[in-house]
């Protein structure tokens, strides 16, 4: 069992965690709370993709072992997750007049509602996309890499989405406005920033990426109502590791945590007898260890003393 093989697995899992982390981090900084419904937003994206795929069907040719219809369905799933998040924001969060912990608790309620609705609609059983099964890509096997075309599809799509986000943040004011708003909402409004709109965009981007992450998680694994919630803790670890509020930190954190979780067997190989059942535990310990050295995460902003 080679390092490279674990790394390949890690890359796929990381891609999913990264998508989840970016969204969580964005919402964390804009809406100002740890959104415990984020995992379930991923679930929403996955199931929406499932439904959309059922409607669109396996139309057209296939790319990377996936019918082109799947990618279409993926976009729909992403859009649905974003739409659900926007509606939730309008109906639930916006009218609230409470601090961040209150919002956090509310988001637990929202998570329950999402999950209950999905369970009502689809049952508690796990489901798979009807995209067939694939075997590892032959050409890579000699190098000790066992990756399927689906795996490649996940990594590539995630990379495209992340690159798109990067462009968006670099070439528009949105990223800066988001930061300004997170910093001081009153002053942001006084400066003329339409905070409602910025908030809405953050939700759209955050939830959309989460939706995509969920859809990939379904492809990587299976769909089931608790799927998103199960990875939420790991995503939190990634976001914290990267530093709350930093999109690029979240990418880095997601990558590191995803890799750590999937590379756990290496520890046993080098003689550290920690089973893979402790994979998440090791991820959390790494997170805490990093926080000890850098209390605001890898890319988090240092808190400048007491200020002037």
């Amino acid at each position: 069992m080679s390092l490279i093989e674990y790394a390949a697995n890690g890359l796929v899992y990381s891609s999913i965690i990264v998508l989840g982390s970016i969204g969580l981090s964005l919402i964390y900084s804009i809406a100002g709370f740890a959104n415990f419904a984020h995992g379930d937003t991923m679930t929403v994206g996955a199931y929406a993709t499932l439904v959309a795929f059922g409607v669109v069907g396996s139309v057209g040719f296939s790319v990377l072992g996936l019918p082109i219809g799947f990618f279409l369905a993926l976009l729909i799933g992403l859009a649905v997750a974003a739409a659900v998040a926007i509606v939730t924001e309008k109906l639930v969060y916006e009218p609230l007049d409470i601090g961040s912990i209150g919002l956090l608790i509310t988001s637990i309620g929202v998570a329950f509602v999402y999950r209950a609705l999905i369970q009502l609609g689809f049952g508690a059983d796990s489901i798979r996309y009807d995209v067939g099964f694939v075997q590892p890509i032959e050409a890579l096997l000699p190098y000790g890499i066992r990756m399927t075309q689906h795996d490649v599809a996940i990594v590539v799509s995630a990379a495209v989405l992340v690159a798109g986000l990067h462009t968006l943040l670099q070439h528009t004011d949105l990223g800066r406005k988001m930061r300004a708003m997170a910093d001081n909402p009153d002053l942001a409004r006084a400066s003329g920033i339409r905070t409602g709109r910025v908030k809405r965009w953050s939700w759209i981007i955050g939830a959309g990426l989460a939706g995509a992450g969920g859809a990939f998680l379904g492809l990587f694994n299976v769909l089931e109502p608790r799927m998103g919630f199960s990875v939420l803790l790991v995503i939190f670890a990634a976001v914290i590791l990267g530093g709350i509020g930093s999109v690029y930190g979240a990418m880095l954190g997601g990558f590191v945590i995803g890799m750590v979780v999937e590379m756990m067997p290496l520890l046993t190989d080098v003689g550290i007898p920690i089973g893979i059942k402790y994979a998440n535990a090791v991820a959390f310990l790494i997170m805490v260890a990093v926080l000890l050295v850098r209390p605001t995460g890898i890319a988090g902003q240092a808190i400048g003393g007491e200020g002037v």
Binding site: G305, E306, G307, V308
Partner: protein, 258 residues
Amino acid sequence: MSKDDVVLRVEDLQKSFGALVATDHATFEVERGTITGLIGPNGAGKSTLFNLVSGFYEPDGGTVTVNGTDVTGKEPYEVAEHGLIRTFQTPRKLEGMTVREAMLVGPRNQPGESFIKLFTDPGTVGEHERQHLADVERILEEFEIDHLATQPATDISGGQMKLVELARAMLAEPEVLLLDEPVAGVNPTLRNKLAEQIRRLNEQGTTFLLIEHDMEFVMSLADPVVVLDRGSVLTEGPPDAIQSDDQVIDAYLGGGGV
């Protein structure tokens, strides 16, 4: 320059933030019983110096001595235990408390701050609490904010917050009190009263180190005045001398003077 009874000695203190040198080999002493003024242009490093002295920043070099003890690099609470208390330039809000409660945090070494004593010695706790409460009532009156006593401590105006900040620090009854622009934003009438307060406390033995841009205020209160510029001490002397010092006028006072 050497002084008789030094309570605070800052020696060759250095601090940089990246390329920016905020404190540049600053050296001065504060003599017991004085009100020492600390002035200098915006960004001269005055607040940074306070942060270094009170333990909120770790200096890159140099030493801070309080009452003969070297406190360089100590935690803020340890520095405070040596009798040095500072206020913040931007006043701190205490959520979920009334103004009166927020003031009661001030006094140091309250027996009621020990969890054990709450149960072993409730009588003493109550006694001290009553005493502190009386002190709070008194000082709030003096600061003309007694009508705010039971208001939430967050729901007060900018100037009122500065007053609470100052009053609380006074309640701690430290030997040395570092005030960072105590009267910025405070109404002129009240400013005069605060000056009297400071003077009175000073007569009772508290030593002050005072940052303030209000020249009328500083010059009437402080002696000596230390001038800081670009992180190091430009000059030090009695107020008159400082006010007529060309260097100071250039760097700080500007054409308008007082």
